[in-house]
Structure formats: C-alpha cells, structure tokens
C-alpha cells in the first residue's frame, strides 16, 4: 500500500496572530511553524500502517522552501520520502490541484490529510483532492483500518459517529482520534539523522489559477472588561444573563 500524507506548514497553536503588508499577509515574524495538528494525527496513523502492514509512506507539501523544515520533521518521525511542490498557493483549490497531480503520478492508494489546517481553516483540500483524483472520500475521520482494498473508517458526525466502509483509492480528512494524543511521536536523534539522508523531491507546479483572492485580514475587535460577580451575588449573575446578555 502506498500512502501519501499531506502536511500543512502552520503556525504553532500558541502563536500570536498578526498581519503585515497592509494587513494582506500573515506576519511570520517570530512565529514557530509546525506540522498541522490534524495532519500529525494522520501521519502517526500512517506510521502504524507502515510498521504493521508494510505500507510505504510519503509526505507532501505545496509551498515554498521555508516548509522543508516541517517536511524534514515528518521524515524524522518516520516517513520514507518527501515531496514539495514549489509554489506559494493562493487558495485551497490550487493546493488540491497540485496534490491531485502528485497522487496521480505516484499512484497512491491512500491519501491522509487533516480535516483542515489551523491557519486558514478552509477545510476544502481533502474533499477537492478526492473529487479531482476520482478517489473515495471520508471526512472528519477518527478511526481507520485497511484490509487489502477495503477500508473501514469512523466519521465524526454532529452528535455522534458512524462507521463506514469503502474501497481504495481513498482520501481522508483526518483529525484527533485517528490516533491518541499520547501516540504522537517526537523525532529522536536517530530519526533526525536518518531524515537528512531521505529524499526530498522538489517538483515544479502546474501553475493553475486560484479561484479566490484574499484581500485583507482583520483581527476581532477588542472586547470589554469582564464583569466579575461575587459568589454571594449569583442572583445578579442570573439576572444579567437574562436581561443584559439575553442568553437564558
């Protein structure tokens, strides 16, 4: 089984979000970049398929040279090879089109992507990729087993979950639950050394057009100060929730 894990290069979850160039670009100044958490759960699940079922695992990113450190981290965690499509994508559709080419050329059976990246939160790349590459698609995937050509997946739905069965080729939009938080791996020294020798292929892009343009970013308006209520005046709190906030 050939697995491709899509890796987004995103600001660490604790990053302060600021914008530059007239609020048109994310300000990367002082920001640590990491593997997108939703992708990291998927990568760890892919390692399980590699170790237990002999799958090969490649990782891919669509982005500039600055994302290679994140791809190297994925190699240090255990992926066999990495691919970087050398372009600065403007939207999710562009990413999906580039990935569809990689999937087709590499004849991957299973593509594991995160349900969304924690930066732009588009939540569109996995589904678009599935449709463009003619693969089956399971989103919000919190459990995945593969037996031959057959996949059994658990999808989180509003208010519960459902168990689905489908066939490869398959794209999943994964999230926490694919593996537990405690199963995530921190690269060790041996992994880091080995990662330096693993292939990282840089591919030229298709140069497709984006379908959207992001013109400007804004931050939420600062909010007013908290109204503190004493434990002896919780009646007042209930009243405020009713008459002022109008939420009960």
């Amino acid at each position: 089984m050939k697995i491709l894990v899509c890796i987004s290069h995103v600001p660490d979850t604790t990053s302060k979000i600021n914008f530059a160039e007239g609020d048109t670009k994310f300000d990367t100044n002082g920001v640590q970049f990491v593997i997108n958490p939703n992708d990291e759960f998927g990568l760890t699940r892919a390692m399980w398929f590699k170790e237990k079922q002999g799958a090969s695992v490649d990782v891919v990113n669509v982005g500039g040279p600055e994302t290679e450190s994140t791809l190297r981290k994925a190699l240090a965690i255990g992926a066999d090879g990495a691919i970087r499509v050398n372009t600065q994508p403007m939207d999710g559709l562009q990413v999906a089109k580039e990935l569809a080419k990689v999937v087709q050329d590499g004849a991957y059976d299973l593509v594991i992507a995160g349900r969304e990246s924690i930066d732009y939160n588009g939540g569109m790349v996995p589904g678009m990729l599935a449709n463009l590459s003619g693969s089956n698609f399971i989103n919000n995937c919190i459990g995945l087993e593969i037996e031959g050509n057959q996949a059994t997946a658990i999808r989180e739905i509003d208010g519960g979950k459902e168990t689905l069965s489908t066939q490869l080729p398959l794209v999943i939009g994964g999230q926490k639950g694919l593996v537990e938080e405690s199963d995530l791996r921190i690269p060790n020294m041996r992994g880091i050394m080995m990662a330096r020798k693993k292939p990282l292929n840089v591919l030229e892009p298709l140069n497709t057009e984006a379908s959207t343009t992001t013109n400007r970013f804004v931050k939420p308006a600062p909010k007013g100060a908290v109204k503190l209520v004493d434990i002896d005046h919780l009646d007042d709190l209930v009243n405020m929730l009713h008459t002022e906030a109008k939420v009960i």
Partner: protein
C-alpha cells in the same frame, strides 16, 4: 439567476442550521435582487422554509440517507436547474463534508466559515473567520458560480412573512461508494453542534468523578456538556466532548467554562460563542480576559449555588 441553499433535515425535520442558511440566503438574494430556492431531502414540511424567506423549495423524496458524493451531485443538479449563481451550505459536519466535493462539481470558488452577508457583490466578497477565530479575512470569489459555507450561529434566524412553493425534485442519483455500517448518535443529549448553551469543564474539577455538577448545570440550562483538551487527554471525558483548536469548535450563545484556565488554543476554539461566563479559583486565569462574566471562586462552591439560583429563575420564568 437565483440563490440556492441546501437545507438539512433529520428524520424529516429541518435542523436549526437549515433555517439559518435560509435566513442568510434570503439576505443574499435580496442583495443580488433575485429569488431564493432551497433544496431539501425528504423534508416533512418543506413549505415551512417560506417563514425564513425561501421562495421555492425543491424537495428530493427519492434519495436515501446522507452520502456526501450523492448529495453534492444532487445539489449541483438543482443549482443548474435553478441557474443558481450563489450556493449556500451550513457548517454542519455533513455540509463541511460535501462542500468541497460540490465546489469541484460546480466549478465554483468556495469560502467556508463565512460570518456575514457579502461586503460587496462585485467582486463578490465575503468575510470569513480564519486562524481559528483569531482573525477574519475578506475573500473574493472569482468564479461564475460561488459556494458559501455559513459559519454556525453567525447570522441567526430571521423570520419572514413570505410563503414558499414546493416542488418534488428527482435528480439522477449517483451510486454510493461508501456504505454506512452503523450509526452511534446520542439522542437523549443536546449536541455541542446544536446547543444554544455549552457548559464546559476543565482540570480544575480535579477528576471525572466530579462531573456531576457540570452535568446538572447543563441539565438545568438545557445545555450540552464539553471539556478542555487536558481533560480529554487524561481520559476523564470522551474525545467527542473536547472543544478547542484541535477539538470541536463552539459557536453557542452562552459558553460556561468551569475550572478552565483559558489556554490560547482553547480560547480559539470557543471564541465564536457570543457570551462567555468563566468560573475559576484563579483571578489571574487568562480566561477572564476573554470572558464577559466571571466568578472568582471554587467551582465546587459556586456551581451548586448557581444551579439553585437558575432553578429558581426557571421556575419563576417558566
């Protein structure tokens, strides 16, 4: 041309998000000077959507249960039939599943997590949340047909005095490639996705055995229960209750955080909630900076009193 909304139902009843996308769709249709059509699947009372501004409802009675690929293709057929230039879905798990498939089918630009009506119609520009509610972007959709995913609880319900005509619609249904083996949906509990109020507990509660006060507070308010990431990582509560950046997003009217300090990742996930009440022993807890109302005190003392006061309020305002 027209605007098309996908209005979801469960067991024939429209979900709240369906009424919200209808309300929002009406506003967009007015902006564009056109009419609003809704696509429903096996709805018992499709004409109900007229109360939220829908002019025409296409009701598909032939489709079986939800399948993202099959439904996306059916929505595409409806969009073509109605010559829809703007197609709107919600942010439910099902809508987020089918939307990217639909975008490819329609050759449409797709903006998810949209929080307001378009700021401009030419170029067609929407405000959407990004960086897990830490920012918004203004994004233009540059294709002939546009697809919008409306953020939950961002627009609200707007009643309308109009009436909707209803029409049976029989799209060609694709074969499904995904078989549903089993569904495990709790029916007796309010879900985080649908809840108007969410009561969430953190490590400050000290152990899973202490969750009774969270559940009781939720019950009094008709609220869903949730928890912080450490609590789900420790196994005190199921993953399905974890809210925050890597968990479920919350966009409720009222979010009550008990014993949660308010790490930046947690705040990001719940920031779309309208009103936040924080109960914490530590006056320095960062959550108080993000809260509207706060009580500094021990949850084990505060919550039981709050439950009593809420019960009194409920009995007086029943």
């Amino acid at each position: 041309m027209s605007v098309l909304v996908y209005t979801e139902s469960q067991e024939g009843q429209f979900k709240k998000v369906a009424l919200e996308v209808a309300s929002y769709g009406k506003a967009v249709a007015e902006q564009l000077g056109t009419t609003l059509t809704a696509l429903a699947f096996s709805a018992n009372d499709p004409s109900q959507l007229g109360n939220y501004g829908v002019d025409k409802v296409l009701n598909v009675t032939s489709a079986s249960r939800f399948d993202a690929k099959v439904y996306a293709n059916a929505i595409k057929q409806a969009a073509e039939k109605e010559n829809a230039k703007v197609v709107i879905v919600s942010s439910s798990a099902d809508s987020k599943y089918l939307a990217p498939l639909l975008a490819i089918e329609l050759d449409a630009a797709y903006a998810s997590n949209v929080v307001a009506t378009p700021t401009e119609v030419s170029p067609f520009t929407v405000k959407r949340s990004a960086f897990t509610n830490k920012a918004f972007s203004f994004t233009s959709l540059n294709t002939d047909v546009k697809l919008i995913g409306l953020s939950k609880n961002a627009y609200g319900l707007v009643e309308n005095s109009g009436s909707a005509t209803t029409e049976d619609f029989s799209p060609t249904l694709l074969d499904s490639n995904v078989e549903v083996k089993s569904v495990d949906r709790s029916t007796d509990k309010v879900t985080i996705a649908d809840a108007e109020i969410v009561v969430s507990g953190g490590r400050g509660l000290k152990g899973p055995e202490n969750w009774g006060i969270i559940e009781e507070l939720a019950e009094v308010l008709g609220a869903a229960t949730a928890c912080s990431k450490p609590v789900s990582d420790l196994g005190w509560r199921p993953h399905s209750e974890h809210v925050g950046q890597t968990g479920k997003p919350v966009a409720s009217n009222l979010y009550i955080a008990v014993g949660i300090s308010g790490a930046i990742q947690h705040l990001a996930g719940i920031n779309a909630s309208k009103v936040k009440l924080v109960i914490n022993t530590d006056p320095e807890a960062p959550f108080f900076k993000a809260a509207d109302y706060g009580v500094v005190g021990d949850a084990f003392e505060v919550v039981p009193i709050l439950i009593e006061k809420l019960k009194e309020f409920k009995s007086q305002n029943a």
